[in-house]
Symmetry: C2
Subunit: 578 residues, 2 copies
């Protein structure tokens, strides 16, 4: 390719709405162009990267036995109504009416459609397992689209769906996809981590997220450096920090703590460590009693003053699936005091108390006294109040024991780019997607679903690989592998001849190379390609040529290396492993 | 590929809503699956064909210097409002509101977006010409979607847009695309014809359509077998069938023709040839007069009784761009009679008469007498009524003189699969897409646009290539090039070993081959692959193998050919030109 024939459009400054580095650099490098909020045109330079990502995904999916199809972007409402998601999906799913007034969803995902496809096509266990995938445009009407392709509204996703006759088969299909994902992200040349994840709204029983590691990542990844334990923050199990509860040594004492509502303030006022305090969080659950009357339950969650509540874990406590935080009026009614002074001892009304595992093993702790301006010190379970229900309620922290008992936990930041789920029969039962099993009886298909955020990979790769000059693409997904930078292409016959020869030879050797024949000054030319992030550069200059040399510089190299003209093609091929 | 691992789903019967052969065969072959009206999932077997079509299109577009990008599917209304097409497009363009109530179009085409992309990126004549294209999903909310992928609502299109600094450049870009299209359709292995076309609603000055030739085609293509003249029916110029008007030989006579309103009936009643009659078509044009008052004009079009009116040509008559057919009340008022008895002689009110070129050269013709139950015979221009305005108003017919004077016209049926347009500045002026020309002055970009109906190609290819067993794909776009049909794969070690060996060797030779390892009986297996339309079949049977032979049969061959085992890979490669 010649730069004069390609669409190159770099900017000195990023637009003001670009907040994060990958968004800024993609805009400056002319990879994407904003059309509307969260809606981008994939410009030629960006599309080249997307196509390379897609090709790797496609190859590995095919190798893993998955079969490609394409499902419609505009999907009739009826299927979404079958699973109840037409109502559940909320405003993120964009809806549209056709000229006859019929309802359609602009696809945010395709579980319903794919289940519909297979329920009419797969009749017998003999046809199973099947794994189908598509690489397709999706649309999610995010409330606040941002970060360019990282949280856009229109984006490209690879979504795959497996169908098995039993749970064992589903697990096998899941493992095959897990392995394929590992190969895919390895081939991208990115540092990544797979973590156990909560299954959340999509349903099902078991899932993993694949994250590209980046300091700027939105998600905290928990892992054990001395074992293979890894989970995201929602799913990482927090072990008790105190192995066994000590016997009480203090009397319960009601300490005056006026205007002291936060644990940090209480600890400071009383001269105690934050880790001796307990944070009380009041919840309300609205339900119907046996006679169908609306009733409210009071729940009090207790975590140590220096810990953070994990709401996903709260959701999993039996009875708390539909919790909400209590209002101030509800707090007054249940505890007889104001927020900031709650505690498990002597509540006004009946309260279900749930203590985090660490709190359950504390003794002589500090908590609110259910009286404005007072906290208890020397509080002890059993003696001062009943033993609480115990649950894992908090986020893990660095240094926590690994749940597998094989070390301590570390935390790093990541960007989610893939997600694999075991769905089981969540969709197949609602949509009556059955097959005839070995005994001739209908049974629901066991499903898995597997996503990769194709366009998101670009943002994540950049967040992991950039410097102050621009992007540094890994070879496998760079828009071009090599740029040829001739010094005076339009002035020197010698330079032009060598540049043209090298372009032709590298292209013949299967190298994805671009020759910058635009006649720019070296400074502008280098700046463009460093911004765009082409990983390998060859400078062709008259002076070097007279010595028989060209200059090679990798995008991360401090300095250039002289390479004899005759060796350059082999040198580049070796660099690229071709 | 092994059939047991692919998604094969053939049907004995086509669904009842499939009216045409390509729709029936694609449904029966499991290539597409209906999700909603005009909305289809591209099943694995169909997607393989689509991907091959896309690859050929992409290769030739790239060779022609076009650059790929991808524009959004969901497009903000503002751009469509800039060109006025937000209002003009009508219900075929599906519109949607996002969660904030903002308007968007689901893209039916991308002139607006691409013009927006280039107007901010292309500043100077030095950056021109540029040609960008995308292969993308489109949506058109057809009133009556039908014929499967031929007239679906969601479909895949390649759309390209060229930008030049002057008309000469635009014409050069247009020619380059015309040539690329010729290569693309040739590579598909389809019989096709490029015809001059009317530019219609999309605007611009000059265009050609590319049609796949098929007896079942919706469009009539006009061409001259002894020259390179070719046009579609709308655009084909009809020359007068009478070279020169003869002098009158008859008196004007008012013949009683009760209940005789059609030319065929009049000719029969009066014992004349249909070609002596003239058909009168009354039009109304509503406009404002110089004082802004609404007025109506009466127009009468005259074509020979055996000819068909061409409404596109009518539109081009000065003053008739906004014509409509007159109502019965309007006809009574202007002509003083009922439909069926109109004519140019002695109208009641003022009427603008336009005669087709052939009618203008007729003498002693028959026309309505503007009196119920009567026609004139022996009517003559000049003598019985004023000389008419003359225009080309009719469809050409077989045997008409070619407008280039190099022969006579023939007509065949075609399916439109591509369209190239010279748009000029129609969009760039409305959207202020300018560049600085050589003299430093802003000038509007000269545009061209170029479409290929990617998914439509499948339907068109089948309409051209099928028999009573099923589809007959050309090699280049067949889902698989070769099917290996083993007789008893699950029973005979000999057959299995040879089938596996041949599969591996053909795949290694770059042949797209599928081995049917499903264990079907030969009849069902053959029927499946004949229906699917794989162009080359190799049967592997024990009997043949004992003689050292395999059986080859091309999809169009009457009988099989024995080929020695050792020669088969070379034989297939030769068949495929590999």
């Amino acid at each position: 390719m010649r730069a004069s024939r390609f669409f190159i459009s770099t900017l000195k400054e990023a637009p003001s709405d670009a907040e994060i580095v990958s968004h800024k650099l993609m805009m400056r490098a002319g990879m994407i162009k904003r059309l509307g909020s969260g809606i981008y045109t994939y410009m030629p330079m960006g599309l080249k990267v997307i196509r390379k990502v897609e090709a790797i995904v496609r190859e590995e999916m095919n190798k893993a036995g998955a079969i490609e199809l394409v499902m419609p972007f505009v999907q009739p409402a009826e299927l979404w109504q079958e699973t109840g998601r037409w109502d559940k999906m909320g405003p993120e799913m964009m809806r549209v009416k056709d000229r006859h007034g019929r309802d359609y969803a602009i696809q945010p995902t395709s579980e319903e459609v794919v289940t519909d496809v297979v329920r009419s096509e797969l009749k017998s266990y003999r046809q199973l397992p099947v794994n189908v995938y598509q690489i397709q445009t999706k649309f999610r009407d995010e409330r606040r689209p941002r970060f360019g392709l990282m949280r856009g509204r229109e984006f490209t996703m690879k979504d795959a769906y497996s169908f098995d006759k039993d749970i064992e088969g589903m697990q096998k299909s899941y493992t095959a996809m897990f392995d394929a994902y590992t190969k895919i992200f390895s081939r991208f040349g990115l540092k990544f981590r797979a973590v156990a994840a909560d299954t959340g709204a999509i349903g099902g029983s078991f899932s993993h997220e694949f994250h590209v590691i980046a300091q700027t990542g939105e998600d905290a990844l928990v892992y054990c450096p001395t074992s293979d334990y890894a989970a995201n923050m929602e799913a990482a199990e927090a072990m008790p920090l105190i192995a066994q509860r000590a016997a009480p040594t203090q009397e319960l004492f009601k300490a005056p703590t006026p205007d002291t509502v936060k644990c940090e303030q209480v600890a400071e006022l009383l001269g105690l460590k934050l880790s001796q305090t307990v944070k009380s969080i009041a919840l309300t659950v609205e339900k119907e009693d046996a006679n169908g009357r609306a009733v409210k339950e009071n729940w009090l969650l207790l975590i140590r003053g220096d810990h953070e509540l994990n709401e996903v874990k709260v959701n999993k406590v039996p009875g708390l699936a539909a919790f909400r935080f209590a209002t101030e009026a509800e707090i007054r009614e249940a505890y007889g005091t104001v927020p900031g002074y709650l505690g498990p001892i002597a509540t006004k009304a009946k309260v279900n108390v749930v203590a985090d595992r660490t709190v359950a093993n504390m003794s002589d702790f500090v908590c609110g006294a259910n009286e404005e301006g007072f906290h208890f010190t020397g509080a002890n379970w059993g003696r001062d109040c009943p033993e609480p229900q115990v649950a894992d309620l908090r986020n893990v922290i660095e240094g926590d024991a690994s749940p597998d008992g094989k070390g301590v936990l570390a935390i790093e930041r990541g960007i989610e780019v893939g997600h694999v789920f075991q769905l089981g029969t969540a969709y197949s039962e609602k949509m009556e997607a059955t097959f005839l099993d070995e005994s001739g009886k209908p049974a629901p298909l066991q499903m898995g679903c597997y996503g990769i955020g194709v366009t998101r990979i670009l943002g994540a790769a950049i967040e992991q690989n950039f410097d102050d000059k621009g992007i540094i693409w890994p070879d496998a997904i760079a828009p071009f592998e090599v740029v040829l930078a001739p010094m005076g292409y339009d002035r020197s016959e010698l330079v032009k001849a060598e540049a043209d020869r090298l372009l032709a030879e590298l292209e013949a050797a299967g190298v994805d190379v671009i020759l910058d024949d635009r006649g720019l000054r070296p400074g502008s030319m280098f700046a463009d390609w460093e911004l765009i992030g082409v990983p390998h550069r060859v400078v062709i200059g008259e002076r070097g040529l007279k010595d028989g040399n060209l200059e090679y510089q990798g995008r991360r190299d401090e300095a250039a290396t002289a390479v004899p003209v005759a060796d350059m093609v082999g040198f580049i091929k070796a660099k690229l492993g071709k």
